[in-house]
Symmetry: C2
Subunit: 195 residues, 2 copies
C-alpha cells in the first residue's frame, strides 16, 4: 500500500487546519485519518493518542502566536507596541479560531513551562517597560492585559458582542486607548484597607 508519509508534524499541521475549519473540539483522530485517506490506527504510530494530538496543536498555536507577537513588537514601544500586540492576538483568533481555541488548552505544568506560553508573558512584560510600572504592579498589569486581550477576543469570537450597535472595531480601539491611559496613570495601592 502506498505510504503517505505521515509524521507527527504533518499531523499536527493538518490538525490545526482542521481545527480552524470545524472547531478545535471537533478535531478527532478519525477525522484526521480521513483527511489523509488513511486508516485510523495508522495515526497511532506518530501520535500517542487523541490528547497528545491536541496538545501538539496547542503548542503549535502558542508558538505561531508568539512568533507573530515578537515580529509585531520589534521596534515598537509604548502605545504603538500595546496596539500591535493586542492586534496580533485578535487577528490570529479571527484568522485561526480553531488554533486560538487550541492555545487555551490546559497544559500540564511541565508542558506549559516548555511551551511558547512563557514567551507570551515575557513579551507582555517587555511591552510594559514602556510604561512606568515597578513590581508588583507590573505583574498586575501583565495579568490585566492578558485578561482583556483574551476576554475580548473570546467574547467577540463567541458572538457575545454581535447583537449590539457600535462596531466592535471601534470598541477595540477605544479599549486600547483606555488601557494605554490606565497604564500611564496606574493607580497606587490603597493605603488603607477598607472595612
Amino acid at each position: 500500500m502506498a505510504r503517505v508519509g505521515l509524521t507527527a508534524e504533518r499531523l499536527t499541521q493538518a490538525g490545526a487546519e482542521l481545527a480552524d475549519e470545524v472547531g478545535f473540539d471537533q478535531v478527532t483522530v478519525s477525522a484526521l485519518a480521513r483527511r489523509f485517506d488513511v486508516k485510523v490506527a495508522s495515526l497511532y504510530s506518530h501520535v500517542r493518542n487523541s490528547q497528545d494530538l491536541r496538545t501538539r496543536i496547542a503548542l503549535l498555536a502558542l508558538a505561531e502566536l508568539a512568533d507573530r507577537a515578537a515580529d509585531a513588537l520589534a521596534g515598537r514601544s509604548g502605545k504603538d507596541a500595546l496596539t500591535a500586540l493586542a492586534n496580533v492576538y485578535r487577528d490570529y483568533a479571527r484568522e485561526h479560531p480553531g488554533r486560538y481555541a487550541a492555545a487555551q488548552l490546559r497544559l500540564d505544568p511541565q508542558t506549559a513551562a516548555a511551551s511558547a506560553g512563557v514567551r507570551h508573558a515575557q513579551m507582555t512584560r517587555a511591552l510594559l517597560r514602556g510604561y512606568d510600572l515597578t513590581e508588583p504592579d507590573q505583574t498586575h498589569a501583565v495579568r490585566l492585559l492578558g485578561s482583556v486581550f483574551h476576554g475580548y477576543v473570546s467574547l467577540e469570537l463567541g458572538g457575545g458582542f454581535s447583537h449590539s450597535a457600535p462596531d466592535t472595531d471601534v470598541t477595540w480601539i477605544r479599549v486600547l486607548d483606555a488601557l494605554d491611559t490606565l497604564l500611564r496613570n496606574w493607580p497606587p495601592p490603597p493605603t488603607e484597607p477598607q472595612g
Copy 2:
C-alpha cells in the same frame, strides 16, 4: 421496573453538578444515566439529545449567575457595585467551574436572546450608571468590563496565573481599583484619526 422520576429539570441539575465535578466537556448522556442508575436510552424521553442537555445546563448557569449578580448589585453603586458584580463572576467560576464553562457555550441567536444572558448586559449597564458615561462610551465600557471579568476568571481558572509570585487575590483587587479609576476618567475619543 421502578420509576426514578426523571425530568428535564432534574437531568439539567444533575448535569450541572456533574459538570462541576468532571468538567463541562465530560458531561455525557451516558455518565448522567449512570448517575441515575438508569439506561442511557431513558434520558432521551426528557432531553432531545446531547446538545440539548448541554444547552439546558448553559441556560441554568446563566440564570444562576444572573440571579447572584442581581442580588449583589441590589443597593450598591459605584465602585462598591463594580466589586460586587466582579466577585459574583469570579466566585461562581471558582465554586462551579463546570457551570461557568457551560455559561460560555455558544448559543444560537434565538436561544441566546431568550436566555439570562441579556440580564447580564443590562446589569453591567446599570452598574455603569454610577459612572459618568454616555453612549457609545457606555457600550465600550460594558464590553471592556465583560472582557476583563471573563478573561481574568478564565485565565485564573485555567491556571494561567498560577506560577507567578503575587497572589491572584491581590491582583484582582488592584485590577478592580484600576477599572474603577479608568471608568471615572474615561478617555475621550481621539479627535484626530492616526495615519
